[in-house]
């Protein structure tokens, strides 16, 4: 019996259907047995392969590598949003960019893994990146809040310092007449200070600091110039001279047993001496530009010198309740005026002025006269009774102690400027 060589090439394509085919092709039992063995081997191989593949596929799932990290993703996102909500864009922009970039990388990695087929997914790296993004975002929030707080505090410090400077400028402006330029500068500084306060209230700390620094700087310039003008009240030579005048006036009162008057511009005080003893002190107001000595008519300064009362003007004869007329200008005033005109300090058409009085209508709380010494009406009533024509009146800048200008100069020298922050 001739054996037909079987065509086995199809076996490679359909190994599990071998037996069916064999039967159809009338194979002998040996061939069938051989093929059955081959079929069992193939089946075992396929089963083994499938099992191995199954294990390989399930193992990552069992280890949790393929599970999306939704919680970590949301947590990192929240942290980034929180950092953004602290206005980290303004206060810690570098940190925020870094946190956002890290979150973006993490998010891309997470999404990349989501899009892969299940067994191939691996969210380990995404999780690490998300944790790092969250850490950076949390650090950014903290840093942003710290910087914001520091900026707010710094703006507050700038505003406080500016307020001190403006307050000092205002104190100078109340104590002395400021030139137009300085007055403008001071008002400008007050406006800038108010703007700084408004901006600070609205959370615009950087702008608030800027305005506060401008306010402080302007006010300091005003105070600086005012302090310079007032510094004559602390000038050792002048103070010594004024003290000498006061001493001589008091000595004269002591020697003669008569009354004498000493006016201290710095302290805004008029003191009556009798037999060398101070018997009464009145609060006075002076020429509104009294920081300096009187040089000419119309400068609104109260003169400094030794004068006498030349006339008494009772009520009805004075426009200011009552008045005691002084013999201003005296010889020394004339000499000084002529010298100043000669050197060109005063214009040729300037005049020395006259009619300096001690009068009433005072008590306004600030210097307002054009050079006279003003008392409250009750005080001039009292003084009028104590003083007669010929009474010496010595007007000095001050004795160098405790006067308004002396204090302001001292305050200006002692306090640090607000022009720059630490």
């Amino acid at each position: 019996m001739a054996t037909v060589a079987p065509d086995l090439h199809w076996l490679t394509r359909h190994p599990l259907r071998i037996l069916g085919r064999m039967k159809r092709r009338h194979l002998n039992r040996f061939q069938i047995r051989r093929l059955r063995r081959a079929s069992r081997r193939t089946r075992a191989l396929v089963l083994g392969g499938v099992t191995a593949l199954g294990i390989v596929a399930i193992l990552p799932i069992l280890t949790g590598r393929t599970t999306p990290r939704w919680f970590a993703l949301e947590s990192a996102r929240q942290a980034v949003v929180q950092a953004q909500n602290t206005n980290a864009d303004d206060w810690a922009p570098g940190d925020l960019r870094q946190a956002e970039a890290m979150f973006q990388v993490a998010r891309i990695e997470h999404r990349h893994q989501e899009l892969r087929i299940l067994p191939l997914r691996d969210f380990t790296q995404a999780e690490l990146l998300l944790r790092e993004a969250e850490r950076l975002a949390s650090a950014t929030s903290a840093h942003s809040l710290r910087v914001r707080q520091a900026t707010r505090d710094s703006a507050r410090v700038a505003i406080t310092r500016a307020a001190d400077s403006v307050g000092k400028g205002v104190a100078f402006s109340e104590a002395m007449h400021l030139a137009v330029y300085d007055r403008r500068l001071l008002t400008s500084s007050r406006l800038a200070l108010e703007e700084a306060e408004l901006l600070h209230r609205r959370g615009e700390y950087t702008l608030a600091t800027k305005r506060a620094l401008a306010a402080g700087s302007q006010a300091e310039r005003v105070s600086g110039r005012a302090a310079q003008a007032a510094s004559r009240y602390t000038d050792a030579g002048l103070v010594q001279n004024w003290r000498q005048w006061m001493k001589e006036t008091i000595s004269w009162s002591e020697r003669s047993g008569a009354a004498a008057i000493v006016v201290q511009k710095d302290k805004h005080e008029l003191t009556v001496y009798a037999r060398g003893k101070a018997v009464k002190t009145y609060r006075v107001e002076l020429g509104f530009n009294s920081i300096g000595n009187k040089w000419r008519a119309g400068d609104s300064a109260t003169p400094e010198g030794r004068y006498h009362i030349t006339a008494k003007k009772p009520a009805g004869q004075s426009g200011y309740h009552m008045a005691l007329l002084l013999d201003y200008p005296n010889a020394e005033d004339r000499r000084r005026f002529d010298a100043a005109r000669r050197v060109g300090r005063l214009p040729r058409n300037a005049s020395l002025g006259s009619l300096i009085e001690i009068h009433g209508e005072g008590g306004r709380g600030k210097d307002w006269t054009k050079g006279c010494v003003a008392l409250a009406n009750d005080d001039i009533d009292d003084l009028f009774k104590r003083i007669g024509v010929g009474t010496p009146v010595t007007i000095v800048g001050g004795d160098g102690n405790g006067g308004t200008y002396t204090k302001l100069v001292g305050m200006h020298r002692a306090e640090p400027t607000s022009a720059g922050l630490d």
Partner: protein
């Protein structure tokens, strides 16, 4: 069976062509980014910071989706989600622009209302100063107040410059400070007048 053998490769090639042609919705992405840029240009950083932040985060989500898809095997990419995110980002950008415009308009209107009040107060203070009796003692104060009002006027002019430049927060602060200063001057004049009246009566 033979038909299947022919159809399968054709189907595979067709699918590959279709899938392989998946490209990012660039026009939509560009439109979304342009809407966020427009919001920023409209001043959203100052006047609608929360909305701008939302829009920027939407764009970041979109970028992440596109980047994740780009990492995939070319035949497996799908930009459907990117298209959805583009639309969301565009809408968020447009909302930020609208919010910024509204916020800016409000700040502008507030500043203008303050400007009007400050100008009125300044005019009233100037009128009061013009008619204030300038005697000995008061002339100096009146002059000082006039100087103050000139400074207020300068400050208002500076505020108007800031306003014209669109810096409404700054102009608002200037106008408010000017208004308070002018009101302060008015109050001072009124008090001085009252004091004088009281003195006369006494």
């Amino acid at each position: 069976m033979r038909k299947m053998k022919i159809a399968m490769p054709i189907l595979m090639v067709g699918l590959a062509v279709v899938m392989g042609c998946a490209k990012p919705p660039q026009a939509d992405i560009d439109a979304a980014k342009a809407s966020v840029t427009a919001a920023r240009d409209a001043g959203a950083a100052d006047y609608a910071s929360a909305s701008l932040r939302d829009a920027e985060n939407s764009v970041a989500s979109l970028d992440a989706e596109v980047a994740a898809q780009t990492k995939k095997f070319a035949l497996m990419r799908s930009y459907k989600q990117a298209a959805v995110l583009s639309a969301q980002a565009k809408a968020a950008g447009e909302k930020a622009t609208a919010d910024a415009t509204a916020g800016k308009e409000k700040a502008k209107a507030d500043a203008e209302a303050l400007l009007a009040q400050a100008k009125t107060a300044m005019d009233e203070a100037n009128a009061m100063l013009a008619t204030a009796p300038a005697g000995k003692g008061t002339a100096m104060e009146i002059e000082a107040m006039k100087t103050d009002m000139q400074t207020v006027q300068t400050s208002i002019a500076e505020g108007e410059q800031a306003h014209a430049a669109g810096r409404f927060l700054e102009s608002k602060a200037k106008f408010e400070a000017a208004l308070n200063q002018a009101t302060g001057v008015k109050t001072a004049i009124e008090q001085a007048k009252e004091m004088k009246m009281g003195k006369k009566k006494a």
